[in-house]
Symmetry: C2
Subunit: 129 residues, 2 copies
């Protein structure tokens, strides 16, 4: 019954979204675009999107690697690879406890990426008739 | 002085974000993840991120292809390729007028992608102390 809560953890240095305001703000510099594209590449994969979604859906917003292999239908090394990419992009944290690693969302990183794509259009739509 | 306005246009059938709720909602199906990944792939490129940003920054939220080549520092065929990918992903519309094509953002598509990544964490952070 408990609502999933996501621990607030420091965003690793690799986080690419912190660099940039919304796309609909100032034109993006080449450097900012390169940084941002790296983070979007981490997201732009079906297995990694499903992993983010599975981790988020787990109780406590944290999932053991052992619980992520079966739902994806991929081999454990493949799942480990995708989890590593997400950790390196700053979208998941990894915490080794005993034999298993536990992964949790970094909500600030997802929200920062989300903010890059958001437009003011939705807000305007109400008043523009 | 006029604030940029973005014309509301129908989202092409290729729009991949309309399929899916937020990642932090229900676990994503394999099909939804595949569709969504295609759209994120369109965004996950430095040149295409800059094109979206340049189009958005243009007066009226619409830009002539002829104004997009120089700021990117890429060849015209390369810019045309990236614009085509963005149109196919449903993130830009293309309108041929005379010899030039004009490109405009599809704010609904960007907002839908943005909503996929947004987490409820920011809202919770205020009350979780």
């Amino acid at each position: 019954m408990a609502a999933p809560t996501v621990p607030v953890v420091p965003v690793p240095a690799g986080d690419g979204a912190a660099c940039c305001g919304p796309l609909t703000g100032e034109p993006l510099s080449a450097e900012a675009a390169a940084t941002l594209a790296r983070t979007f590449k981490a997201v732009a994969d079906p297995a990694r999107l499903r992993l983010l979604s599975l981790v988020a859906a787990h109780e406590g917003g944290e999932a053991c690697a052992c619980d992520l292999v079966e739902p994806l239908g991929l081999s454990q090394p493949t799942v480990s690879h995708h989890l590593k990419v997400l950790v390196q992009a700053g979208l998941l944290t990894r915490d080794k406890r005993g034999v298993w690693a536990y992964f949790a969302l970094v909500p600030e990183a997802l929200d920062a990426l989300s903010a890059v794509l958001a437009t003011p259009a939705r807000a305007l739509a109400g008043s523009a008739g």
